[in-house]
């Protein structure tokens, strides 16, 4: 049952997913996904509800039958194997602990299946519990534990069998915010210490960015972008990804290229970019996406200084802490801007947006993303 455990048992395995097609009944959910997972890497599958991220994870561990394609772990294709033969350990969103068993029995179950001696199971569970900060909890009923403790037990149960691949299915979404923050770092630290290959499904952008060293953004059953958190955050590959990664302000712009360079205009405001910076920009009607913290407020008649200075009027102000948050009406749109200075609602302002921080996509693509 145990896969070839070359070298250290907890070292991660490589996974190659090739042209994976999965359907529920007659409805296709994954349309030919190909993805590589390096040994010991931490990958987050990120996307909105129904994008296929959980389906991909469940197809990897065998809970969803694969219609076509391959899942190669090490050097064997596991796509057609039943879940119990795949040697991947999963942590479930609902924890999925067995209520009729103690903490010791829950964590030790995988070892019991592998024929490990009782004393050895007890020793291993004790060391895992110590690592998870639950030392001495062996004989507790899992129903008597808090949410955070249950999630630790679920993590311990998955790690007890020295898996080479750890699958995390939104494991933190049922925890309250404070414990969630702590668990993010704990899971990441444990994964790095053990060197296990981890795949983490989440719809929480911040969770994915803080835990993973690689993000896979999924959209409608396909991979939309793969990259490090910085790459995906700073250089989103499409309007959908820009929007999903938090660039929620949308500004219609017009891009024109001539011998002087490239000009980006929004309403009457115009800014220019040098040639080398602007080669990737789409020409004609386009849509610019940017985050709340990218723009700032200036006087309506301030000097543009190379930025796009769009005239607008403050529609609302709130104070979430540290900075003021403004809703500004500009070019017929509502734009959210964070700024340190206090302005009164109704005041005319200039919305200063640095061109380099805009994510600009053709208007046609932006329409489909919305």
């Amino acid at each position: 049952m145990q896969a070839e455990t070359h070298g250290v048992s907890s070292a991660g395995a490589a996974i190659q997913v090739r042209d994976l097609h999965v359907a529920y009944g007659g409805t296709p959910v994954l349309h030919g996904v190909s993805l590589d997972f390096a040994p010991g890497s931490f990958t987050a599958l990120l996307g909105s509800s129904g994008c296929g991220k959980t389906t991909l994870l469940r197809a990897l561990c065998g809970f969803v039958p694969v219609r076509s394609g391959s899942i190669v772990v090490g050097d064997r294709d596991v796509a057609l194997l039943p879940p119990e033969k795949r040697d991947m350990a999963m942590v479930f969103q609902s924890y999925a602990l067995w209520p009729h068993m103690t903490v010791l029995q829950n964590i030790g179950y995988g070892l019991k299946l592998r024929g490990t001696a009782k004393a050895e199971i007890a020793a291993k569970v004790a060391s895992l519990l110590t690592m998870l900060g639950l030392g001495g909890y062996e004989q507790r009923k899992v129903t008597a534990l808090s949410g955070g403790q249950r999630q630790r037990v679920a993590l311990g149960r998955a790690l007890a069998v020295d898996p080479r691949i750890l699958l995390l299915d939104e494991p933190l979404s049922n925890l309250d915010a404070k414990i969630r923050m702590a668990m993010r770092h704990e899971i990441r630290a444990i994964q790095q210490r053990l060197g296990v290959t981890a795949i983490h499904v989440t719809h929480d952008r911040e969770e994915a960015m803080t835990m993973a060293d690689r993000l896979v953004i999924m959209q409608a059953g396909r991979i939309a972008q793969v990259g490090t958190p910085e790459e995906v955050y700073d250089r989103p590959a499409s309007a959908f990804i820009a929007n999903f990664m938090g660039a929620e302000n949308v500004l219609p712009v017009h891009v024109v290229r001539n011998e002087d360079g490239t000009a980006v205009s929004a309403g009457h405001a115009v800014a220019r970019l040098a040639h080398d910076d602007a080669t990737a920009l789409p020409l004609g009607e386009a849509v610019a996406y940017f985050r709340d913290d990218v723009a700032s407020l200036a006087a309506p008649d301030a000097m543009p200084q190379g930025d796009l200075l769009v005239p607008g009027r403050i529609a609302a102000r709130s104070y979430p802490g540290g900075l003021y948050r403004y809703r500004v009406e500009a070019v017929g749109r509502q734009i959210t801007v964070d700024d340190a200075a206090r302005h009164e609602p109704g005041a005319a302002v200039g919305l200063r947006i640095p061109l380099r921080r805009l994510h600009i996509f053709p208007a046609a693509e932006a329409a489909t993303a919305a």
């Binding site: 119990e84 067995w98 009729h100």
Partner: protein
């Protein structure tokens, strides 16, 4: 509960109204169940000439101790086999992966639920007899020589009928309980390397055990009280207590012994109920 005087008056009148509402039902229970129950209890402990006596019990044990044991063995083994069959069916419905098998089983398994015991007994008479459908099928398939055919219309017939009739009921309740489990708890087992059989036995069934026990206790009491099946399927000695009770009354008008057998039947079913309650209390008392 009522704080002020007006509410007090109102709640009193409501209480009276409630009593009035349940009075017809209560009277019916008293007349049709409690009175006959008390009457049969009193009769079981009364000597023919009057006064308290254990004479009827003495006679019941003298004549029917074999049948008491027979009844317990039949009902307990029927319950055990019913449990096994129901676990197999409910387990397949919950963890089965072949949609054809699961679909067919789901469509078929409930049918015996809608057949009365007496019809089930009649079906089994034609099915299990020496020249019955089962043996004839085996002979025509070449699995059995005609001379080897034996009748199953004895204790085996009773057990087969009981199991056939009660399995759908237990399977229905158990499948419902298994379906309502958090599916992830079963997936977690397979994910760690457990086969489907181990998942069923070690992870799913313990979680559904209270439901299984209720279904089995109800089946136990039902089987204990069926007259038609032992009478029609196995007529001869030994037989079940229901047949003995009917015989004492119909042949001799001997209500005292029949009532003593009735009390013994109460005690047997009370035993099953106590076992169930003790299990429930042990679970609740657990930390």
């Amino acid at each position: 509960m009522a704080s002020g005087t007006p509410r007090h008056i109102m709640s009193l009148s409501q209480r009276q109204l409630a009593l009035l509402l349940i009075a017809p039902g209560l009277a019916l229970v008293a007349a049709l169940f409690l009175y006959p129950l008390c009457f049969s209890l009193v009769s079981a402990f009364t000597a023919p000439e009057g006064g308290f006596s254990l004479q009827a019990f003495g006679k019941a044990f003298e004549l029917y101790s074999g049948d008491i044991l027979f009844t317990i063995v039949i009902v307990v083994s029927s319950c055990a086999l019913t449990a096994l069959a129901a676990i197999a069916i409910a387990g397949t419905l919950t963890l089965g992966e072949n949609p054809w098998v699961v679909g067919t089983l789901r469509a078929l398994y409930r049918w015996p639920l809608f057949i009365p015991f007496i019809v089930a007994a009649q079906c089994m008479r034609t099915f299990l007899a020496k020249n019955g459908l089962m043996n004839n099928t085996f002979v025509s398939l070449g699995l059995l020589e005609p001379l080897q055919a034996v009748s199953y219309l004895d204790w085996r017939g009773i057990i087969i009928t009981f199991v056939w009739k009660q399995t759908p009921f237990v399977a229905l309740l158990l499948a419902g309980a298994l379906a309502s489990l958090d599916r992830a708890t079963l997936e977690a087992g397979r994910n760690l390397g457990a086969s489907r059989l181990r998942v069923l036995i070690e992870l799913a069934l313990p979680q559904a055990m209270p439901t299984l026990l209720v279904a089995l206790v109800l089946s136990f009491v039902t089987m204990l009280s069926v007259l038609s099946v032992p009478m029609m399927v196995a007529g001869s000695q030994p037989t079940m207590l229901t047949v003995d009770m009917a015989f004492r009354i119909n042949a001799y008008g001997d209500y005292a012994t029949a009532n003593a057998l009735g009390v013994i039947t109460y005690l047997i079913s009370a035993g099953a109920a106590i076992l169930y309650l003790r299990h429930g209390m042990a679970k609740e008392g657990a930390p």
